[in-house]
């Protein structure tokens, strides 16, 4: 029989004013199993806690009921108190007789009667409490960063600085992401490559960081602290260890007509290529869709030319499996496709480009070597029209994205300013709905574009663009001027909306991380936990969580890294002991519980049981992983036979509380 101690708190006058605490402690003293019952002004005070510890030792209490304020207030305090006195902390129950009794009833008599009933319910529950110890699960001291853009690199660098090994998995042949394709950055007009490549080199040289380029995540199993991830290293047909990055093969390769995705198809590259000069790892890659040797077996120029003998046509995809303690999603963004915006004639004229393509045209390593030329005839453009919010702030659905993509106003101001600065003879028009410049020095930057460089900012939208004998006839409304403008432009640049990378959705399903309707990762709490995913052990860095510019991405990457370090620094993860547990003898193995578990904490094994007259019965039974289970209890109701029960809130305990209340 349990030996229970009841401690009724006055809480100064908060409880004692409308509840006769003496009557309560006397009434509860008579309850079965109660060996000691008292009341005191401040149970949560040091004196109160000492009294509890003293009584535990004196009476050898096996259970403690404290009738006081809400468990959300002092449950942990009283649990620690009892733990110090040697009583299992989960043998404590709190009856909430302040917020849910004394404060909401004026009449002392009903207040006292209700407090006694709530006390009885807590006693009934503690009778059935079992001592629980918080489970522990080991933490693998290695992090995985998925995505090698500035977000992934920065996160990896910060984690590596703390001394933890990090793997970066990048689908492209080189890390660097979108920033490598950008010419200058706002608001400081730094050259993007100049501030990015040192970080890429740091990442390459940092012995804690292991870069798995040209690879994809295939499968993720396990839980926080113990992820096991299968990574597919796509076949490069070049041996990374031998290739020196001299680039000889990329000059000699006969297959010249391959659209260069690094320059967004504005120029061509060879079948064997290095994306750009400062690529990290600086290793050639053969494109299997275009290489004649791989397709027909007749060529092999690159292997003949290669001095290091690094070409290996037989190389196959390789699947490697590694353990990680934490995973950071840094899959980044892409501009949306323009094929649903024919009113801007993107598909009808090469002179209508997206902003990223414009970046490449302005970039020294770009297809035109840095001089801004019209892709159609290579002449110098005189009139440029920038169109804002193409596909952003729309109605959702096939019209475009419902959100504002946040960075277009700033990079368009940058493009306009750089164009006017480099080519003073050009006329630059920017058609906008609102110019949004919320960051530090952002608005000053935009005003410089208007005041110093004379960019024509026109509030209104372009209605249509019609390519006509070499010119682009732009028809737009000028809302403030109250007129319809007709401009013959040489080039039109569309500020396309940005959307998450296509690899984000399958990755989210693998990580059981949740996503919003626009495929951005959902954060654990929009304001208070923006860099964590609701799924424990999964963190978010960069534009995969929402549109953001480079300063914010780097800040968020640092934050994600600090969360990962906070996790990896622990040797063990203590997990909530009030988790589900399945009674194997009664489990039907019908996987009803597995389907309702939001955390995928339930797995199944076939187990042998002793059957009648010495036969063994092989049955499928459920197993709950205590580290992943958060104790919501959905499975306990889905399980018809009651095999699945929740420690700390078991069926019997809740029934006992119901009985005590309704008696």
């Amino acid at each position: 029989m349990q030996k229970i101690g009841v401690f009724v708190c006055w809480c100064g006058s908060n409880i004692a004013a409308t509840v006769d605490v003496q009557a309560v402690s006397d009434a509860l003293a008579k309850e079965p199993g109660v060996v000691f019952s008292t009341n005191y002004q401040y149970m949560c005070s040091q004196a109160g806690q000492d009294m509890i510890q003293e009584k535990i030792r004196e009476f050898g209490l096996t259970g403690v009921v404290v009738c006081s304020c809400s468990p959300r207030m002092h449950e942990t305090t009283f649990r620690k108190t009892c733990e110090k006195a040697g009583l299992n902390p989960y043998m404590v129950e709190i009856a909430n007789i302040r917020e849910q009794c004394s404060w909401i009833h004026k009449d002392k008599e009903t207040g006292t009667e209700k407090a006694i009933i709530l006390g009885r319910a807590a006693i009934a529950k503690v009778q059935l409490n079992a001592p629980l110890t918080a489970g522990q699960s080991p933490v693998v001291k290695r992090a995985l960063v998925i995505g090698g853009g500035i977000a992934g690199i920065q996160t990896a660098l910060d984690i590596a600085d703390a001394g933890f090994p990090v793997d970066i998995v990048e689908t492209k042949p080189t890390i660097g992401g979108k920033m490598t394709q950008i010419d200058k950055t706002f608001p400081t007009l730094d050259c993007a490559a100049c501030i990015l490549t040192p970080k890429m080199v740091d990442a390459a040289q940092n012995e804690n960081i292991n870069i798995l380029s040209y690879s994809e995540v295939e499968a993720v199993k396990g839980f926080v602290g113990n992820f096991s991830v299968t990574i597919r290293r796509k076949a490069r047909f070049v041996d990374e260890t031998k290739c020196t990055g001299c680039g000889l093969c990329t000059e000699k390769c006969p297959q010249k007509k391959v659209p260069n995705e690094f320059n967004l198809g504005l120029d061509n590259r060879r079948a064997i290529y290095i994306p750009f000069a400062q690529a990290v790892p600086k290793v050639a890659t053969i494109d299997p869709n275009y290489c004649t040797m791989l397709k027909t077996g007749k060529c092999g120029v690159c292997s003949k030319v290669c001095t290091a003998g690094a070409i290996d046509y037989q190389q196959k995809d390789e699947l490697i499996e590694r353990e990680y303690g934490a995973i950071v999603a840094a899959t980044g963004f892409n501009p949306i496709s323009m094929d649903k915006f024919d009113e801007f004639a993107y598909s009808q004229s090469p002179d209508v480009v997206t902003s990223l393509e414009f970046e490449r045209l302005m970039n020294a390593a770009g297809p035109t070597g840095g001089t801004l030329l019209r892709p159609s005839d290579g002449t110098h453009p005189h009139t440029l029209v920038f169109v804002q919010c193409v596909g952003s702030r729309c109605d959702g659905g096939e019209k475009g994205k419902p959100y504002c993509s946040k960075i277009c106003c700033m990079y368009t101001a940058k493009h306009a300013m750089l164009t006017r600065e480099k080519y003073p003879d050009t006329d630059v028009y920017v058609f906008y709905i609102d110019v949004r410049t919320p960051g530090k020095n952002f608005d000053e930057f935009y005003r410089r574009a208007v005041e110093e460089y004379g960019v024509h900012y026109i509030k209104g939208m372009v209605g249509k663009v019609v390519p006509e004998n070499g010119k682009l006839k732009v028809q737009a409304s000028d809302l403030l001027g109250g007129q319809q403008l007709h401009i013959d432009a040489d080039m039109v640049v569309l500020a396309a909306a940005i959307e998450p990378d296509k690899s984000a959705r399958p990755l989210a399903t693998m990580l059981t991380a949740s996503m919003d309707t626009n495929d951005f990762f959902t954060e654990a709490h929009p304001k208070l936990r923006p860099v964590e995913s609701p799924t424990a052990g999964v963190f978010l860095s960069g534009a995969c969580q929402g549109p953001k510019d480079i300063p914010e991405t780097v800040a968020q990457a640092g934050a994600a890294a600090s969360k990962v370090i906070g996790l990896l620094v622990k040797d063990h993860l203590t997990c909530n002991p009030c988790v589900a547990s399945s009674n194997e003898m009664m489990c039907n193995g019908c996987s009803a519980c597995e389907k309702v578990c939001p955390y995928g904490a339930i797995t199944y094994i076939d187990k042998d049981f002793r059957g009648p007259n010495r036969t063994t019965l092989r049955r499928r039974v459920a197993q709950v992983n205590p580290a992943v289970c958060q104790g919501c209890g959905a499975c306990t109701v889905a399980c018809p036979s009651g095999a699945m029960d929740l420690k700390g809130f078991s069926n019997a305990q809740i029934m006992a509380e119901v009985d005590a209340i309704c008696k």
Binding site: M586, G642, N651
Partner: protein
């Protein structure tokens, strides 16, 4: 039809595909057909029956049978049985590779009460496939319209489709438009007091023989909560009105979303309580609130109670929807 099924049973045994076959055998009376296991040709020839009274649903026996060593177990399944068969596979209760399932075309099973109600006296036996039934009685043979004496569940049969069978005897059928929810709708239209009186009248006759639980393919727990002393709601015999309600509400809730509406519970109830009306109420609610769902129709859609939509109706819908004269 019986000849073809018997021949198939013998063929399964002779060809060595199965070492035992689950079928039907005449019980005490001709209409009291019980399930049986046949292991030899002679037994089949002598006792195997497939006639208008073979209502028993074999799929629940396959839970235990499919786990035994030895060759496969042959099983004859009517269309409604195949739904339970697939539902049990979906819940990993039947090991499909140890079962050789033979689907049997079914024209609907008859109910002896309906036969008696049709005013035929001194019945000795009845057989015949197709639309008419020849009834052997003390006063010579009579023939009667099969439709008139069909069991309630067969009168509003929901589907003649044979699912997931290795082989089919007879033709494959189709899902049918069935009026199986009319009775439930009639009850819903009553006032709460009338409904309370109706169900008290029905459930008070319940003697807790657990026949409904034992025959129900969805009710196949290793250890039922009502037999488990520390489940908190264990009760062997319902001693008062509350426990009768409790048993039937909880049982209906446990099979909600998994009950294939095979009607076995009402067929075996010795007190003729229309238990299927409880399960059909849940099926009707699920169809109306969460979209058409037929348990056991396929192997992958998630059962409604293990699924959700963001825009599910609020529980208060029950308050607005109910009629409250």
């Amino acid at each position: 039809m019986q000849e073809r099924v018997k021949a198939k049973a013998i063929e399964l045994l002779e060809s060595g595909v199965c070492d035992r076959v689950l079928g039907w055998k005449a019980g005490e009376f001709f209409y009291d057909v019980t399930p049986a296991v046949f292991t030899s040709r002679e037994e089949i020839e002598k006792e195997f029956v497939f006639g208008p009274f073979c209502g028993a649903n074999m799929s629940k026996y396959l839970i235990a049978e499919s786990r035994k060593e030895g060759k496969k177990v042959g099983a004859f399944l009517k269309p409604c049985d195949t739904y339970s068969f697939q539902q049990l596979q979906k819940e990993h209760r039947i090991w499909r590779e140890n079962v050789y399932a033979v689907g049997v075309q079914c024209e609907g099973m008859c109910d002896i009460e309906a036969l008696k109600a049709a005013g035929i006296k001194g019945i000795l036996g009845a057989e015949g496939s197709g639309d008419t039934l020849t009834v052997h009685t003390l006063y010579g043979d009579k023939s009667v319209e099969r439709k008139a004496v069909l069991a309630e569940r067969c009168a509003c049969c929901k589907s003649k489709k044979l699912l997931g069978c290795d082989e089919i005897v007879g033709e494959q059928g189709e899902e049918l438009e069935s009026a199986r929810f009319e009775q439930v709708a009639k009850l819903e239209a009553m006032t709460p007091d009338e409904r309370f009186a109706f169900w008290r009248g029905e459930l008070s006759r319940c003697i807790r023989c657990n026949a409904c639980r034992n025959v129900c393919p969805a009710c196949s727990c290793e250890k039922c909560v009502f037999d488990n002393p520390n489940s908190g709601i264990e009760n062997k015999a319902a001693s008062n009105s509350f426990e009768e309600n409790l048993f039937h509400i909880i049982r209906a809730f446990h099979v909600a979303g998994r009950c294939t509406d095979c009607g076995e519970c009402s067929r075996v109830c010795p007190q003729h309580i229309p238990l299927h009306l409880l399960n059909r109420k849940f099926i009707k609610d699920i169809n109306e609130l969460y979209g058409e769902y037929q348990a056991g129709a396929d192997m992958d859609t998630r059962p409604p109670l293990m699924n959700f939509q963001m825009d599910d109706p609020e529980p208060s819908v029950v308050h607005e929807r109910g009629s409250d004269q």
